[in-house]
């Protein structure tokens, strides 16, 4: 397991060096989206219309933050459970996105799309919203403000800590880790 520091947008060169279990400190611009926003973004892609941000090399963070206190860019902002985005993520990866941040297992379609399009599924520590929110230095709603916490935000992160769950080679840290520590009866 290796440690990396990467800055967005990511390239295939960036993602192909990563292996499940590696830890990464992310820097640069990241976009947030949850279920409702993904549905709208994928509908735009399928209709051939312009997206509110450039997907190429982008990382999508599955998060619905708490409201910011006065003077803060964002409130607490840890990952939400990712499987709800499983039907949308392959389309995002096929159209240039290179990474996702969330928590919890993904389906085979997402793992296959990571292999096919050099994508990475990163896990962040769920329930560490205060810690992770402090790694976000700016935040701006750029689409779907009516969705409230689920709106699409453009955020800037500094040394945002994540772990590689699914890499571009089909590995899955959740499976590997569990096999290593499972005690069979």
């Amino acid at each position: 397991m290796a440690n990396y520091t990467l800055t967005t947008p990511l390239t295939s060169e960036d993602t192909k060096q990563l292996k499940a279990g590696d830890t990464v400190l992310l820097n640069g611009t990241i976009f947030t989206a949850r279920d409702a926003a993904h549905k709208k973004l994928v509908a735009l892609i399928e209709a051939g219309e312009e997206l509110p941000f450039d997907l190429e090399g982008s990382i999508i963070y599955f998060v619905g933050p708490t409201p910011p206190k006065p003077g803060d860019p964002i409130g607490s902002a840890g990952p939400t459970t990712s499987y709800r985005m499983d039907t949308f993520s392959p389309t995002m990866l096929k159209n240039g996105s290179k990474g996702m941040i969330g928590k919890g297992k993904r389906d085979q379609g997402v793992k296959d799309a990571c292999v096919a399009y050099d994508g990475i599924y990163f896990g962040a520590t769920g329930g560490a919203g205060a810690l992770l929110g402090k790694k976000i230095t700016s935040a701006e709603v750029i689409a779907y403000p009516e969705l409230g916490p689920e709106a699409v935000r453009k955020i800037t992160v500094k040394d945002f800590p994540v772990t590689v769950i699914n890499d571009t080679y089909g590995n899955d840290l959740y499976q590997m880790g569990r096999e290593q520590y499972e005690v069979k009866n």
């Binding site: 397991m1 279990g21 830890t23 409702a36 998060v63 619905g64 933050p65 708490t66 409201p67 910011p68 206190k69 409130g75 607490s76 902002a77 840890g78 939400t80 459970t81 499987y83 928590k103 919890g104 297992k105 896990g123 520590t125 769920g126 329930g127 560490a128 919203g129 205060a130 810690l131 992770l132 929110g133 402090k134 409230g148 916490p149 800590p161 772990t163 769950i165 840290l173 959740y174 590997m176 880790g177 569990r178 096999e179 290593q180 520590y181 499972e182 005690v183 069979k184 009866n185």
Partner: protein
Amino acid sequence: MREIEFEVVVKAIRDMIMHCGTDLPQDTYDALAQAMEEEKSPVSKEVIRQILENANIAKDEKRPLCQDTGLAVFFVKVGDEVRIKGGLLRDAINKGTEEGYREGYLRASTCEPFSRANLKDSVGYNLPAIIHFDIVAGDKIDIEYAAKGGGSENVSRARVFPPAAGKDGIVAYVKEVISDAGGNPCPPITVGVGIGGTFEKACISSKHALFRDLETTNPDPEMAELEARMLTEINNLGIGAMGMGGTKTALAVHIESNPCHIASLPVSVNVQCHSSRHTHITL
């Protein structure tokens, strides 16, 4: 008949909610610190270290522990010699909930089931609260509160077994529920198991079991033994913190058992994430 002012209840609820949103209870913090010591996997150890660092930041800077600040769940025991002056107890709890969530910069997470429209501007900010009332003797009101997140609720399940399933059947079921959940409910988890009663009684018991302090032992030795057996079986699954593989999938298993129908053995498994935000007051 003792009287408590409506606004006194509102303020107590508001304070409890704001405190719980940012300050991890000591029993949970201590259990996590012990789990970090004992965890064999370096990856899971680092995850628990981040969880504890997060708790310190949240407490010191009064930031929400998690962006999922939960639905507000209450178990309320109302003494038969006390009344609320100036309104209904349910309204006071809901008002305190709304004020606590809004003033604490906590997230409004209630929505309409199908349109998914957020209810903050219609019903109220993070309303309605989920309230379970009971009537007891005395002139006090006892209020247990937890902020219950969605990720761990989503993996919870209930089933009515035939009586022959027995303890082995229940242990296998609990193990199956936690195995299928993997890292989704944010382990290290606490597992509430409601046994017996009717279908809904088992569910409510499994929820209430999560309110018990982590350092306590079940007063019924038979249930304490069953809890220990389930905990070992769950930790043998190897799921680890956030599902990354490890030896500490659960901090504790808590059982609440009830008498049941001769034909049935209801079982409910309610899962609580590591951010076990629960507290208790008496008015």
